[in-house]
Symmetry: C2
């Protein structure tokens, strides 16, 4: 495969250069991501994302991104936005998909289409406090990729496996992450 | 405190009725949440959320919610949307905030305002593959609530603690969750 003709829209050269640069400047590799949430009414909230810290200084997205979240009507709520647990699926889907594009680019494989279907199963006896042996969160999450690319099934599976290995959100969900909750 | 005069917009009576109803119908408590992600170009994807399964049948949100995700310009990307790891913060913030409103309502405490600031620290030496001892995901996440309510600091802290105890997204992030990734 001629790597020069492959274009998945990922600037792998820049990423590889960043990797080399950060090897000599580990402090610059420390990032802080932020979100700011305002309660609206009931279970409805609005969360804004714009600024973050990285490469040794304050950074920000070109625009502020805002997200409405709510519970659906079957939970006696008003369904003003996606359910919080669905946002976790959005993060996982988009992280693995960005990884697939990046790894494919690095391996010189042209992608034509990538779709991921996610399903997360949850027993709401947990969050309702019916059974303390039932966890609040997902029992398991299944991700199924449909990928059309100039590659064999085996090569595609290897791309997905490498994306999973390097995915930040996969790691956060699959493994324990320390959370501190405080009241100011 | 006169519970009757408190209105945080949460229908606690309906939730308590649902809890009683589901005690006798555990199958109905099994939910499946879904998301469908389409790669756009580079690290940019679009994820849609609408249908889910619960209470023994197919359900759906009133509208389809769609989310653009991308990496920022400092990662040599085009910044078409929030970063996947920021979506995790959105889910965590909105889940804990919905819980605060629900618990306050159940305890007869009127909320005036609730804001949550989240910060997640991450060393990108992990995702860049510089140091295999550095994890890909967040090292830790800090959530700080600013709450104005008809309640003492101690009562407010107890509300936040109970929200955390019953939060689905808190559980998913704090504890390991099984994820299966497949290629169709």
């Amino acid at each position: 495969m001629a790597q020069s003709s492959v274009n998945n829209g990922v600037n792998v050269e820049a990423l590889l250069a960043a990797r080399e640069a950060l090897k000599g400047a580990p402090e610059a590799a420390k990032f802080t991501w932020r979100a700011s949430c305002k309660w609206q009414n009931g279970t409805h909230s609005n969360t804004a994302v714009q600024g973050f810290h990285g490469l040794g200084q304050e950074q920000k997205h070109k625009t502020e991104f805002t997200f409405e979240a709510d519970h659906p009507e079957v939970f006696a709520s008003e369904d003003h936005g996606a359910t919080p647990v669905e946002y976790v699926l959005v993060g996982l889907a988009s992280c693995l998909t960005a990884g697939v594009a990046s790894v494919a680019q690095n391996r010189g494989i042209q992608l034509r289409s990538v779709e991921a279907k996610l399903e997360g199963s949850m027993d709401i006896q947990g969050i309702l406090g019916i059974d303390s042996d039932v966890r609040n969160g997902y029992n398991d999450i299944k991700v199924t990729f449909h990928i059309d690319a100039d590659a064999s099934k085996k090569e595609i599976e290897a791309i997905v496996a490498q994306s999973q290995k390097r995915s930040a959100v996969y790691d956060v969900v699959a493994n324990p992450t320390n959370i501190t909750v405080e009241v100011a």
